[in-house]
Symmetry: C2
Subunit: 210 residues, 2 copies
């Protein structure tokens, strides 16, 4: 019976390190972030930190992946609570266009930009970036209810996520919430006619509480 709590403790330590890594990157940037500093913030010994993540690259790719998972899980859970009807498209567009306005994207941005001048970091991040991007795309396709075999549907979803990343960037140096909400309204208006009818009426099988 010793094994379970130890595994549990190990998972908690790992999660604390990843959270601390994101905090450090957002506050200090990539060059200011070290394994020692992350360990200190997480309240974990440097040895334990290095056991989980031998290098700064390991820790940072772990953090990017962890945050992407958390965020996508949150997106799915919030999406399941959405009403059907005409407000649905707007709610989904709002959720998608807000996806990159928080600290997760901020941390990822630091790391991506550092990777553009650091070959080792790029090699670590490139496959991860592709996987995280595919997962975001899959969730957006589900939420918008599009059929990817329809002409242009795939590109519309991609454009929505690229726009979301552009809006994340616009939110980096100043609070862009108000402008982003206005763009989201217009984006929903532009998308609406291209979405299949099923989306507008909610996902089939979803029952709305009366």
């Amino acid at each position: 019976m010793v094994r379970e709590p130890r595994q549990e403790r190990s998972r908690t330590t790992r999660r604390r390190l990843l959270e601390a890594a994101v905090e450090c990157i957002v506050e200090l940037g990539w060059t200011g972030t070290t394994v020692a500093l992350i360990a200190e913030r997480a309240g974990v010994s440097r040895g334990a930190a290095q056991h989980h993540f031998p290098t700064r690259e390991d820790m940072v790719s772990g953090a990017v992946e962890y945050l992407a998972e958390v965020q996508i899980a949150e997106l799915r859970s919030r999406a399941s609570e959405l009403p059907a009807g005409s407000a649905r498209t707007q709610s989904i567009v709002d959720m998608l266009l807000n996806l990159y306005s928080g600290r997760m994207f901020r941390a990822a941005l630091h790391v991506w930009v550092a990777a553009s001048t650091d070959e080792n970091l790029r090699a670590t991040l490139a496959p991860l970036e592709a996987r995280v991007g595919r997962e975001a795309h899959r969730v957006a396709v589900e939420l918008l209810g599009v059929n990817e075999s329809d002409a242009g549907a795939r590109e519309t979803v991609q454009a929505t996520l690229d726009l979301a990343r552009g809006l994340g960037l616009a939110n980096l140096l100043s609070d862009d919430t108000k402008r982003r909400a206005q763009i989201a309204r217009q984006w929903a208006r532009l998308l609406e006619p291209t979405l299949p009818a099923v989306q507008k009426n909610g996902t089939p099988g979803v029952t709305i509480p009366s």
Copy 2:
């Protein structure tokens, strides 16, 4: 008659320093870039470099501004050569969505991300970023021929530029040219019905060589 060449020489030195600053930032990142290194690359003495740009912040904001000006001038000049007719919208969308796929955006991205954890740099860049953003918006409004008093027109133009920045980001770690072209095709299709008829037929007063 001594005055003119000296001013000319000074302008040339300034331009060489700004070009070297961009090169340095793109290759080495913000933290790797120093005034000494930029001066060396530009083949300018450190004293002369410091005469033009007392601090690294001055030089970098000069570089961001210079590149934005060059890019917008190029956009205008290319736009004046565009044909009228249905291919026009696609050509303009292509130009706008390619706007941030080059080294100018790459350099700006390094600096913006650095500014997110550096208050002095942020104070220098924030007003510049706003000015450059407004200018890009103005050119996009002209090119697309929209009337900003039409409902949603302003947001459509903003979304186009935010999408372009998101696409610039997607081009940071790998060559995204092909995917970007497909998104541009779909975006032109979505925009077309929202644009005033005048746009589709070219800017009034533009004569097409026969």
